[in-house]
């Protein structure tokens, strides 16, 4: 009897989750929220935080302990930037998704492009955050600039392109 009770409890929890998704879907549609604002991000400062040269300079001029502490500060700061970038990407995903169903084909096409690029940006931000969290645990071995620089380049490239496309 115990397995049945446990399975029934898990199934009930799961059904509650599904019901919440249904409620959320329809209540969200009814709610007319004002457009959320993008968070301003200083990409130069972010680039500085993930610069390999800066990394090497710190490593050469600080003791191992000081280097680890400095790296942790830099990683925490970089994480703040990536989180903000991810938030902005989320706003643009929603905007792009709305625009892609517009009756005007030109707006719909622009919406689709914004949507696709913003999704990419959002996913790369997620990967970047995973790497930054790993770097926070091993700041000396996994420096933010070693693996994240490439991803960062992609994110900024997509963000810049997205801006140009939207502004066009």
């Amino acid at each position: 009897m115990t397995p049945l009770v446990l399975l029934a409890s898990i199934a009930t929890l799961f059904l509650v989750f599904l019901t919440l998704q249904l409620c959320w879907r329809y209540s969200h549609r009814m709610a007319q929220k004002s457009a959320p604002q993008l968070i301003p991000i200083d990409l130069d400062a972010f680039q500085n935080l993930t610069d390999p040269e800066e990394d090497r300079f710190l490593m050469a001029n600080l003791t191992a302990k000081e280097f680890r502490e400095a790296q942790r500060y830099r990683i925490r700061a970089a994480k703040t930037y990536v989180v903000a970038l991810s938030e902005n990407a989320g706003i643009l995903v929603a905007a792009g998704q709305s625009a892609r169903y517009h009756s005007d084909p030109a707006i719909a096409a622009m919406g689709l492009e914004i949507f696709q690029r913003a999704i990419k940006l959002k996913v790369w931000c997620m990967f970047a955050l995973v790497r930054l969290n790993a770097a926070l645990i091993y700041p000396a071995r996994l420096s933010p600039s070693s693996g994240i620089a490439n991803q960062y380049q992609r994110v900024t490239y997509i963000a810049a392109n997205l801006g140009r496309n939207l502004a066009a």
Binding site: P3, L4, A11, L18, A35, D42, G111, T156, L166
Partner: protein
């Protein structure tokens, strides 16, 4: 043959007829291109039903019926996993590298979920059933539990991306969730049910699948409404563009 038998026959045939209607509607609306695995699943389920129903009418040997049923169930479970992968990859379908990356992560999560579920279900049934039943549950229930876990992740994934699921994708996820979420309970109920109430549990399970088929039929014909108001929405987009342009040039 009593009234219950006709109810049972209805719940066996009607959902499968609806599945065919869903497949036809998807084909007419070109949705089979967006969800090819789900489309294949609908056809597979209908075909499986056709074979089993014919065997039932021709009073085929029980062993042959059971074998076809098991093959069909295995195929359905495999297709369920394919559909869930399709739902995960749908938002990143336009980018091959991203899709690969998401698929890689998904496979890892899937294996981890199945192992966890197998350990959990194995521990749950240990000592309460005979060995061959434990083996059966340890195979079927973890697969269902893993699917439930993946469905939760599908919703969280869309929430994380800030994405509103397409109506059909939403319907598919809820439908598969209902089927797989309740199956372990129905299996356990069938195991403890007396012979006369076994049919009632079977009907309840079929009725659930009927609800799921109706749900898929509804979501297959719903169109995504335009949320963006032409004036206000465009102003918002332009403002956001200007803002992002400023960010990108910093």
């Amino acid at each position: 043959m009593g009234f219950q038998h006709y109810i049972w026959l209805y719940f066996w045939t009607a959902p499968h007829a609806l599945l065919l209607a869903v497949a036809v509607m998807m084909y007419r609306r070109q949705q089979h291109r967006d969800f090819p695995i789900f489309f294949s699943y609908l056809l597979f389920e209908f075909l499986q039903f056709g074979v089993l129903f014919t065997m039932y009418l021709l009073e085929a040997p029980a062993m042959a019926y059971v074998k076809v049923d098991i093959i069909g169930r295995a195929g359905s479970i495999a297709l369920h996993f394919g559909i869930l992968q399709e739902l995960f990859e749908a938002p990143v379908a336009h980018s091959v590298p991203l899709r690969r990356e998401v698929a890689r992560i998904l496979n890892f999560i899937m294996i981890a979920l199945m192992l966890l579920a197998a350990v959990f279900i194995g521990a749950l049934y240990r000592g309460s059933l005979d060995p061959w039943l434990i083996r059966a549950y340890v195979i079927i229930d973890p697969l269902n539990t893993a699917q439930c876990g993946l469905i939760v992740l599908v919703f969280l994934w869309h929430r994380f991306l800030g994405l509103r699921m397409l109506p059909l994708a939403f319907g598919i996820a809820v439908g598969i969730g209902l089927t797989t979420g309740l199956e372990p309970v129905f299996l356990a109920l069938k195991n403890i049910a007396a012979a006369d109430s076994y049919r009632a549990v079977d009907i309840a399970q079929m009725a659930t699948y009927h609800i799921v088929a109706v749900l898929w039929f509804y979501y297959a014909q719903v169109r995504e409404k335009v949320i963006l108001n032409s004036e206000a929405g465009l102003v918002d987009l332009r403002e956001q563009a200007a803002e992002l342009g400023r960010i990108a040039h910093l």
